[in-house]
Every structure is written in C-alpha cells, then in structure tokens.
C-alpha cells in the first residue's frame, strides 16, 4: 500500500488551491488534508460536500470504520464545514442577539452547540460556536460553524455594532479525533487535552503549528476537533497520524459518521430538519423545541436577553403549541423478525442509514395515554399518524433497529408504543416500536 502517493501534485496546502491552479477548472475542492486522505482512500469513492471531495469510506467496510471509533478512535476530516470568525468589541452583543442560546454563558475557552432562529421562532440552522481562548485580553474571537452558507444572514443583522465577520471556510482545516482512545492520544501532542472538559476549547501546538482544540464532535463519543490553518494541514495530519499508530485508529468517512451521529441523536440539516429560510411552508420548518433543543432555553424566565425569534419561542412555550417532539425510536426485534420471516425473507440488519420520512402510526392495540382519535399534530397530519422517522438504521452497538423520529407531543412519552411503516415485499408493513429519549447511545466517557 503506497502510503503517500500523489503527494506532490496535491500538496497544494489550501482547499482553495484548486481554484488558483491556472488552467485547471475549479470543479471540486480538496481539503487541506487531501494529499494524505486521498492516499488512504482505498476505494476511491468520494462524495461532494460543500464542493469538497469527502470520503464516504476509506476501506471496503464502513462498519469497520464505525467500530474503530466506538472501540478505539477514528479520524474524520470535517474541513468542508462552513466556518466564520467573528470578532470585534461588540462580538458578544452581536451573537447574543442572533444566536438563540445564551452566548454570555460561553466564556473564552468554551464552546456551545447553538442554533439561530427566524422571527417566527423557526430554526434557520444549528452549529457549534467556539469562544477562542484569549491570547491577549483585547482579543475576543469566536469561531462559528454551520452546514450551509450563513454570511449574509449574519452580516445583515450586524446593524451599528462593531463586529467583524470573516468567512474562513477555505482557510482552515478541521480534523475530528473521536472515540475512547482520543483523549490519551491527543494528549501526547496537546497535553491540555487530558483535562479539557466537555465543550472546552484550548490552544495548542502540533508539529510546531498553532492549533485550536475543542472537545466537540458529531459522534456522541469522547472526542475532539482540531482546527488548523489550511497551510499547516499536512504537518498537523502527519504528527497526529504518527501519534495514533498502533492504537487501532482508523480514518473514517461520511458513511460511518452518519451511523455514529444517528446513534448519538445528533440531527443533520437536510436529513432530520430543514432550514426555515428556504422552506416553502411551515411543514418544512421546525422550532428548536420541536427539534428537542428546549434545554438551550432553561434560562428564559430568569433572563430578558433579546434574540431573534425570542417572542415566538416564548409564545410556543406558553401556549404549548409545539407540533412535534424529537425522540428516538427503538424497534421491537421480535415483531421486526416476524414480519420478514413470514414473508420468507431473512430479516435484514443493515447498518446503512436510510434517510427520509417513514410514517409512524398509533398502536391500535392501545399504548394508553394517547388520544384515540389522533390528529393533534400540525396541519396535514393524517388521522392516526403518530409522527415520522427521518433517519433509520440498524445499530450494531445497540443491536436494534433505531430511528430519529418526530412524535406527536401526546405520543412522545418514552415507552409509548407506536408502529413504524416499512416496505416489505413491495408493500407496507407496520412494525412495532417504542419511543425513547435521545440520544439512544450515550457512553459516560462522552462527557466524563
């Protein structure tokens, strides 16, 4: 396995490099780590993520990559994320007004999972914001990530505040080191990682290059993200790669990530919800409460901070008008097997996530609690519909078929029994399932 082949040609350090190479059409970009990840990509399968080449998997088995993360550690290149550097004397005030979660509770050296809303209280997007450690008291900077471009949306809301917002998506690379061994391995390079708390942020050096390390990730496991200048990408990769050798660490791609994040109950834009900005009707919009983020707003009663969408959110809380509740779903294994057995099929236990709506119905046998008539949900909810699942898979860790689902609030109590509609032999079958709290997989080490 030639290890670092193709290094020369693709060694151009920055993602934007492809655009700059004279004579080469800028069809796709490559991440700052591409020279290394490309050499490791045995299957040569790439998908396009925000115009970047992103590996779906690096080897023949995505499941092997998935297990590496859950049992040792994995490295994921998440450079294609949109990233904004936000600074200036009024950065706090600005973020306090545009982000829905209280940024004042996020001192330097901390990060927050947050979201931003429109005036109607619908979610525009979610992301992680890092409050970068201060090198000098006068320097106060945030790094905000998002899945889609948001610069105009933020810039339009600056008003008279003294804030600088730079999009740095192409100028930085991000590596996620995730899994039970991540702490020990990263601490070899950045000793502060050893004691970095969940959602803590620290500055460090890897291979002489300045890096920011945050204890964040999209796997629901113990894990870290390393933020580097694009030009330092390969240096940092090489140091990290050397440090993890012999520890069962594997690079992992989007396919494994998708499995991990479903188990972890982490929602994905475009899969489990859509941005309110581009929705044509409210059925495609979600409030943060409907997405299960009510915990972000425990402080509203005590705090009068003003932010976009606050009034609508308060009205939703007071009127209990949420149309849905975000929940996990665990399928009844016996019922699942039976449906397939009766059709003469081998019950598939496929870990490949199925993204898309699958209908949930009330359990006619009576789960108790639920109003028999149904129809309490939002507009267009069919009689008897209990909700819908958006991400469905067989979880090797949990040994069950699971899903991320939206439940009618009256059917959202954990333990409530519902029916999930699946297609078996080209017709619909209903399989018993029960509602559970998210995340479905939640190891202690994640926050410990």
């Amino acid at each position: 396995m030639p290890k670092r082949e193709g290094q020369k040609k693709t060694d151009a350090p920055r993602g934007a490099g492809a655009t700059r190479d004279a004579g080469e059409a800028a069809v796709v970009r490559t991440s700052p780590f591409h020279a290394r990840t490309a050499a490791l990509n045995q299957v040569q399968l790439w998908s396009h993520w925000s115009n970047y080449l992103a590996a779906g998997r690096y080897q023949l088995s995505d499941k092997a990559e998935y297990f590496a993360v859950r049992n040792a550690a994995g490295i994921f290149d998440s450079s294609p994320l949109y990233k904004y550097r936000i600074g200036g004397p009024d950065a706090e005030a600005f973020l306090a007004g545009v982000l829905a979660r209280d940024i004042w509770a996020c001192p330097p050296g901390r990060a927050q999972y947050t979201c931003w809303l429109d005036d109607d209280g619908f979610v525009v997007e979610d992301g992680v914001v890092l409050h970068l450690p201060q090198s000098r008291p006068s320097v106060n900077e945030y790094l905000l990530t998002s899945a889609e471009p948001n610069l105009a949306w933020f810039a339009d809301r600056v008003g008279r505040l003294d804030v600088r917002i730079d999009e740095v998506s192409d100028d930085m690379g991000t590596l996620a080191l995730q899994g039970p061994r991540s702490r020990g391995l990263l601490a070899k390079l950045v000793p502060q990682a050893e004691t970095l708390p969940y959602f803590g942020v620290t500055a460090g050096k890897i291979g002489g290059a300045a890096v920011t390390v945050s204890r964040t990730g999209f796997t629901g496991d113990l894990g870290y993200e390393i933020w580097v200048d694009a030009g330092d990408g390969l240096r940092v990769w090489d140091e990290l790669w050397d440090a993890v050798q012999g520890h069962g660490v594997q690079q992992f791609g989007l396919d494994a990530l998708n499995m991990l994040r479903i188990e972890a109950g982490m929602l994905e834009l475009g899969a489990d919800f859509d941005s309110s900005r581009y929705a044509f009707n409210d059925a495609h919009r979600s409030t943060p409460l409907e997405l299960g983020w009510g915990w972000m707003f425990g402080d509203l009663k005590r705090d009068d901070r003003a932010f976009v969408g606050r009034r609508a959110l308060e009205a939703e809380i007071a009127g209990k008008t949420s149309r849905w509740a975000m929940r996990g779903l665990v399928l009844d294994w016996q019922d699942y097997d039976q449906v397939y057995d009766e059709a003469g099929l081998i019950p598939p236990k496929d870990h490949t996530p199925v993204i898309g709506d699958s209908m949930l119905y009330e359990d006619a046998a009576g789960a108790g609690g639920a109003a028999a008539s149904g129809g309490q949900g939002g507009s267009g909810v069919a009689l008897g519909q209990a909700g819908y699942a958006t991400s469905f898979m067989y979880s090797p860790m949990l040994q069950r078929h699971i899903a991320i689902a939206r439940m009618r609030p009256d059917l959202a109590k954990p333990g409530t029994r519902v029916k999930l509609e699946l297609t078996v032999d080209h017709h619909y079958e209903q399989v018993a399932a029960h509602v559970a709290r998210l995340p479905l997989y939640n190891p202690e080490r994640k926050t410990a």
Binding site: M1, V43, Q59, L60, S61, K63, A64, F67, R70, N71, A72, R181, Q245, G246, H247, G248, W333, Q334, I346, P347, P348, K349, D350, H351, Y394, P396, M397, L398, Q399, R400
Partner: protein, 559 residues
C-alpha cells in the same frame, strides 16, 4: 417473675454452645438454600442462571475455577497481552439471548472481523472482504466459473440455514413420548420440512449426512476456495472434509450470524472472555449469585429427586432444581451415581463420542506478520487467516490425525485479534489466536505432556512457511492441547463441543435418545451444557432452552 428461667439459661441446660451453632447452622442452611443451583459457570451455565434469575428464582451459579466462562475466557498471560485461551470468535450466539438478557446494557459488543485471508502454498492468496463485488473478482482470479458458483452456493446455503435455524431455538420434540404436545411438535417439524422446496430439502439432507468435499465439488473447481470453505467442515470434529458427516459440521458453522449476516463471525470486545464477563454481569443484574472456586463434587439426591449439591470441601447448598452445565460424562457419570440412572442412558453416555482433536496455539507478537506477495499490507490481518489451502491439504492433515498423531502441516484458523480490538495488546504489538487441527486426544505411543511444545513448534513452522520471518515476531507462545482443555475447562477428552457433532449425537439424540429435553431421570436435575441440543459453540441455546424447560416444569409443579 422469676428470672431464673431465661431462655439463655434454659438453653444452657441443653448445652448452649451446641445450640448457638445449631441456630447459626440453621440460619446458614437457609442462606445456603436456593430455588435453583447451576453447576458450572461456562457461558451456558451463565445463560441458564440468568434466565432463571430473571424469572424470579433465587439462583446460585457454582464455578470450579477462579473465573467464569469455561472454554470462553480471555487471560492476560503477559502484561498487556490478552489471550483468548480457548474459544476465540462469536457467531452462533442466539440473538434472542442478547435481547432477553439485555446484554447491550452490560457491554455486549461484537466487533466486525472484516475479512478472511487465505494464503496458498504457491505464494498466492485468496482474500475475501466485506465487499461483495471485490470478492467475486478475487475468486475469479482463481476461477472465473467459481465467481458465479459462489453466488449460487451462498444462496443455496442461506436457504438451508433459513430452513433449519428455527430448530436452534426450540427443544427437539421427544420422539419416544406419547404426550400429545410432543406429537404435535413432531407433526409441526414434519410440516416444516414438507414446506421446503425440493432443492433446499435435498441440500439440507446432503449437508446433514454427506461430506463437505462432495457438496463443494458440485459448485467449485478452485482448490483455494474449496479449501477455505471446507475448513469449517472439520472444526472440533474428527472428520476430514471427505468424510461423511463433515457436511453437518460445515452447516453448523454456517448457522450463526453477525448482525443478520448468516455465517459471518465476529470478535467480541475482549474476546469470548469479554463476552462471558458481559453474561456474568447480566446474570448478576437479574439477581443470580455467582460463587467462584466452588467445585461441585456431587449432586445430592433423595428418593430420586435432586435436593442440592455438595462441594469438594463438603459445603452443601440446597435447591429443588439443580442444573448441570457440564458435559454429559460429568453430568451423568460423575455428579450423580450412575446406579441411580437407567442402564440404557448410562450405556449411551459411555459410548458418547468426545475424542477431542483440536488445540490452540496463541502467540504474543512483536508486530504483524509479512506476506511476501503483499508487502506492507496490514489490512489483510483484520479478520481470519485461514491456513487450509486445499481440500487435499486438510485431508492429509486428517490422515495423520486418524492414526493417532498430530498433523505435520496442520489446519490453522488464525486471528490477530488486536487488529480488531487494540485493547488486546500494547500499541504496535499483537496477539494471535491459532486454532489447530488435527491433534487427537489420544496420541499413539506418547502423550500431550511430552508433545505439547513439539506441537507448538510444528504450528510455528507451518506459519513460518506462509509468513517468512514469523518466528522472529514471537514474544511468547501458549500451547493448549486437548489434554490441557480437559484439565482446565473440564471438557472430556478436550472435545470443544462437549461431544462431537455427528448425526447420532444431534437433535433427538443429544446427548442420548429420550433425554434431549434437558431433563434427566432424576427429578429436579437438569442438564444445560453444550452436550445438549443444539450443541457446542458459544451459542447459549442449551442454557436458554434448558431454562425454558425448567420454568415450564416448575409451573406445572414438576421439577
């Protein structure tokens, strides 16, 4: 009132010291009384005890050794190096058990063995992975015809497995009973076979009675592919791939699954010992009590009923349900007095074939082996390494075994488990488990105490011939012979399945005609080890099905 007649004084009259110890003896007798006692903390004993405890029985599991697991243990033989001393991979475990006993909660984690690497004697290899398309092309390298046949073979075998799988999850009907329930079960069994298509039924019979070589010859021409597929037809059994009966062993090993994929094997986190630790935690969580270093000498019986057990040190425990999780020889000939049993049962058990023929050689390695045709390639070791490059190779290995000696070029099922689970070895170092055949329990004109290290050398030499430089990597070696298995685990003659897999010892007849339903002739005395249906392997079915029988009997006021 007079204070003279205090109870204490009254007691003193009768001899106080004796009385207090009598009282404490009484208390401790109550403490030593359970609803059910399971003898043997192998995986089947643990499964059985967990189900009984889950059903609310006060359950005691007694294990002779300092750790539970029996043949399924993992031991740190060298600091940082964890060896799967005996059993090393997982597939047949009944998925229901994972759910019923909530094993996920206690750490159940079957890691993926993502490939099989089968080196050939001419330096070439067959490497099968998780990618179906790649596998077909890889097979086509050896035979284009076989790539197509492989699809058909996989489909045909899956159909047979699908048809027979339910038999693993129920007790065999009693052929010899007039009980309407049993007759009904027999009829249902007949109906199941009647409902199969002709091809599947015929394939099933060919596998259950014929040889693996014959079956494979009908599909394939490539020696390496046949050698690899035939390898599972000899595991744990004194048959060669050309022996009648090897088909059954092949089929048995295809009956397992990994996440729904038939015939796929996984490596449990921490080895099968990691798995039995999970089981022990589950059993305890349901309330079962596990007592280590408690060898049972005998089952106590009274008027044809089991009433408890006595340890070798004389300690007694009482219960009206006693379950032996040991093999049939121990269950019927040692734990109870055979004179209490019907002659025909005793005779059958005496004739019951063990003749262990498998060994293990486990290595601590300084690095990964090198295969000359694939220099620097490490991912080929993320799974099984199968040294059985042709049916001839396996059959020749068997020839030597037949005549009472171990194979000079043995069959080896290798697995470098630290590539899958890095917690098994220090960084950069590895553990390699090698399952070896043939190594007959009874050696001609020698014994295993004398031959143990020679076997280790033979295995190492064989590996060296495929992976030059292998010997230089060896930091430590553990040789586990059939005698060692018998002495350590208690499996008679070192038979890994607690009795060979062949038709007269399966299903209706496991372990003996008329005693395939986990009962014994002694009321309240049950059997749940691998010597009962469906048989050996880390599958838990005997433990589970026996628990169902026990609970049913208790419900009826029997047992």
């Amino acid at each position: 009132m007079s204070t003279k007649k205090t109870p204490a004084k009254a007691a003193k009259k009768r001899g106080a010291p004796a009385s207090t110890s009598l009282a404490s003896a009484k208390a401790s007798r109550a403490e030593r009384t359970y609803d059910a006692i399971v003898v043997g903390g192998g995986h089947n004993g643990l499964v059985n005890g967990a189900y009984l405890a889950k059903a609310g029985l006060r359950t005691l599991i007694l294990e002779r050794r300092h750790l539970v697991g029996g043949a399924a243990i993992t031991e740190e033989l060298r600091p940082g190096f964890w060896f799967t001393t005996f059993s090393y991979a997982l597939s047949l475990l009944r998925p229901q058990i994972v759910q019923d006993l909530e094993l996920v909660k206690h750490g159940f984690m079957p890691l993926l063995m993502s490939s099989t690497f089968a080196p050939m004697e001419n330096g070439d290899y067959l490497w099968l992975t998780q990618d179906h398309g790649q596998n077909l092309k890889e097979i086509a390298r050896h035979s284009k015809r076989d790539a197509d046949a492989y699809e058909q073979y996989g489909h045909d075998l899956s159909k047979v497995v699908q048809a027979l799988k339910p038999l693993f999850d129920q007790a065999p009907p009693d052929l010899f009973s007039d009980d309407p329930e049993e007759l009904l079960a027999l009829t249902q069994l007949g109906r199941r076979f009647r409902s199969l298509d002709k091809r599947t039924l015929h394939n099933a019979v060919r596998l259950l009675t014929g040889s693996a070589a014959d079956f494979l010859d009908d599909y394939f021409e490539s020696e390496i592919l046949k050698g690899y597929l035939a390898s599972s037809s000899i595991i744990g059994t004194k048959v060669g791939p050309r022996s009648q009966g090897s088909g059954l062993v092949l089929l048995f090993h295809a009956m397992g699954e990994h996440d729904g994929e038939f015939g796929a094997w996984s490596f449990h986190k921490g080895g099968n010992g990691g798995f039995t630790q999970v089981l022990a935690r589950a059993a305890q969580a349901f309330g079962a009590e596990i007592r280590l270093e408690s060898p049972v000498a005998a089952v106590i019986t009274k008027n044809g009923r089991a009433t408890g057990v006595a340890l070798t040190d004389g300690t007694e425990f009482y219960a009206d349900t006693v379950v032996s999780a040991l093999d049939p020889r121990h269950t019927f000939l040692e734990l109870v007095d055979p004179r209490e049993l019907p002659d025909d049962l005793v005779e059958t058990v005496q004739r019951y074939r063990f003749q262990g023929t498998s060994s293990k050689v486990n290595f601590a390695l300084d690095g990964l082996p090198r295969f000359p045709a694939l220099p620097g390639r490490e991912d080929v070791f993320r799974g099984f390494t199968n040294i059985g490059p042709s049916i001839d190779y396996l059959e020749r290995a068997f020839d030597e075994g037949k005549y009472g000696w171990y194979s000079s070029r043995p069959y080896i099922d290798g697995a470098i488990q630290s590539t899958i689970d890095p917690d098994m070895a220090p960084p950069g170092r590895h553990v390699m488990s090698c399952f070896i055949q043939y190594t007959p329990y009874k050696l001609r004109e020698s014994d295993w105490d004398a031959e143990q290290e020679n076997l280790g050398d033979t295995v190492q030499r064989t590996l060296e011939s495929f992976f030059p430089g292998f010997g230089d990597l060896v930091l430590q070696r553990e040789v586990v012979t059939p005698l060692h298995i018998e002495r350590t685990v208690g499996l008679s003659e070192g038979n890994i399945f607690a009795g060979e897999f062949f038709a007269p010892q399966m299903f209706f007849f496991r372990p003996a005609p008329g005693w395939s339903q986990y009962r014994t002739p002694i009321d309240g005395y049950y059997q749940c080890g691998s010597g009962t249906h469906p048989g050996g392997c880390v599958m838990g079915a005997p433990g589970k099905l026996a628990a169902e029988r026990i609970l049913k009997d208790r419900g009826k006021g029997r047992g």
